[in-house]
């Protein structure tokens, strides 16, 4: 039967030809898709935690997990078993319902994003017309989970930690969303498959490297990874919003963070680095998984490298970096890309219809947009240099005036 060759996408048709009720067959297909899409991130995360620990160990000149299973691969499973059998403490005075709900909401908000991640030309949970907006909206529920956790713990450190984190998350969501506007504008669609499809000729990262960089940086901050890891800062704040959580509930927050990092890497690849686009992907759709996860792994490792090598920033530095650098830059970037697209159209440089997938036909448009981005980068660098020079000369005056003061104090 032809319908039964690709089971995931045509299960309904396959089942109804073998005599099932069409409505029921449809429902079974949806259910199968949902279970696959939900389980995939949860299974991958078990492996990711191992990767992360090995990687961090190498950087810190250790060996990392090496006892359970070959190369310590089963360490995470052992840890999960340990977490499940640990006593789960709910502090006195906590709001039980909200306290138990918060870690679940935190994981669910990340898993829900996977519904619209295009993994290959034919494998996507569901290709919504408003896919890009869907994952922004669903992702923003995660902020609420942190607020719920911090409030329901009935602990002032948890509440203060939650407030700081939420202020950080909502601030960094603005450049995040503005960066997503650029691929939406270039592809002329919010559907994730359309966005990937529009990159067959040229990756959007080439057309607007600034947007890609802003997306990566703000995604790094959204997941609370170093240098923006004020969410945890376990060595300075007493762990922040999840201080009262123990056992499996703590583990869920932890797992949610790991899935979120991978999810953001996948989104970055889908939005800016061509997604599943690659040679022979139309003949053999399964290759899309390889391209997609291969590129995402690179960004995941880059994110790990940043996490393990950069020092933590102070919260005021972090807020300044967002409001006075990323937000204005992302707004200007959107305006410039919009302007250049009009210029490209007026000069007739856009690839002719039918030629969108051709690399050569895309070059003029790409050259114009890339030049515009390079101009912005040059101007921004010049501005930063001037500002830095001003700051340093102001600092020098302060130091020379207060000679007896320690330089460390003067810097504050």
């Amino acid at each position: 039967m032809n319908e039964c060759r690709d089971l995931i996408n045509t299960l309904a048709a396959c089942l109804s030809t073998s005599g099932w009720d069409p409505g029921l067959a449809q429902f079974v297909q949806i259910l199968l898709g949902v279970v696959l899409v939900t389980l995939a991130p949860l299974i991958i995360v078990i492996f990711l935690i191992w990767v992360e620990r090995k990687f961090a160990a190498r950087i810190q000149d250790r060996i990392g997990p090496n006892r359970v299973g070959p190369w310590g691969l089963l360490q995470t499973i052992a840890d999960a078993l340990k977490l499940i059998t640990k006593e789960d403490i709910t502090p006195a005075g906590a709001d039980r319902v909200v306290f138990n709900l918060a870690p679940i909401v935190s994981v669910v908000s990340v898993i829900l994003i996977w519904a619209v991640i295009p993994l290959s030309p034919i494998h996507i949970g569901v290709d919504l017309e408003i896919g890009a907006l869907y994952f922004i909206a669903v992702g923003s529920i995660g902020t609420l989970a942190i607020m719920m956790a911090g409030w329901s713990s009935n602990n002032k450190y948890a509440l203060l930690g939650a407030f700081r984190v939420v202020a950080q998350l909502v601030s960094y969501e603005i450049p995040f969303v503005f960066a997503i506007l650029v691929p939406v504008m270039l592809a002329g669609s919010m559907g994730m498959q359309d966005i990937v499809d529009a990159q067959r000729g040229m990756w959007f990262a080439v057309l607007s490297p600034i947007a890609a960089a802003i997306f990566f940086l703000s995604a790094q901050a959204e997941t609370g990874r170093a240098p923006f890891d004020l969410i945890e800062a376990e060595s300075e704040l007493v762990a922040g919003y999840n201080i009262e959580y123990s056992g499996m509930k703590f583990g869920l927050f932890f797992a949610g963070e790991f899935v979120h990092v991978l999810t953001n890497a996948l989104l970055l690849v889908a939005l800016f680095f061509g997604g599943w686009v690659g040679p022979f992907v139309d003949q053999l759709p399964i290759l899309g998984f390889v391209y997609m996860f291969g590129k995402a792994a690179l960004f995941y490792l880059f994110s790990l490298l940043l996490r393990n090598t950069l020092p933590r920033v102070r919260i005021d530095q972090m807020m300044n970096f967002n409001w006075k650098f990323l937000v204005p830059l992302s707004v200007i970037n959107v305006a410039v890309v919009a302007f250049l697209l009009q210029v490209v159209r007026a000069l007739g440089l856009a690839p002719a219809s039918g030629m969108e997938n051709d690399l050569i036909a895309n070059l003029p448009q790409a050259a114009v947009l890339l030049a515009g981005n390079l101009v912005i980068i040059a101007v921004v660098l010049q501005l930063l240099r001037n500002a830095g020079r001003r700051d340093r000369s102001a600092e020098a005056v302060v130091v020379s005036k207060e000679d007896e003061m320690l330089p460390a104090q003067a810097a504050h």
């Binding site: 499940i84 502090p91 949970g125 602990n155 939420v166 009262e244 499996m248």
Partner: protein, 120 residues
């Protein structure tokens, strides 16, 4: 898949996605030991007993950051359809979008130069 089915998928997804994170918590509730005592249940406070109610006065700057975020978030209602339809829009629409962005950033610059975005 037609439109109804797409959203049926999301609906089923939202119903099912809860199950897998809830499962380990429910499992843990059966497996894990449960020996509460007064000291264990205490609110964590660096080894000292909790002083007073969990009442801290928060500074208003949290609210102001949330406020600026809200305004930018609402602008997205208009910017996303604009960006989506951008391939079919003319120079006039570009001007309208630019004016929109300009009016929006005005507020940001006001907050910036008045020092409301400084974190102290």
């Amino acid at each position: 898949m037609n439109v109804v089915n797409e959203w049926a998928f999301i609906g089923v997804f939202m119903a099912v996605a809860w199950i897998f994170p809830t499962l380990p918590i429910v499992l843990a509730a059966f497996v894990s030991p449960r020996k509460p005592n007064a000291i264990k249940m205490q609110t964590y406070e660096c080894g000292v007993e909790t002083v007073g109610d969990t009442w801290v006065q928060f500074r208003v700057q949290y609210y102001i950051h949330g406020l600026v975020f809200l305004i930018f978030d609402v602008e997205m209602i208009f910017l996303f359809p604009w960006a989506m339809a951008y391939n079919q829009l003319d120079f006039f629409a570009f001007g309208a979008g630019l004016l929109f962005l300009f009016l929006l950033t005005d507020g940001l610059f006001y907050a910036w130069f008045k020092g409301d975005l400084e974190w102290s």
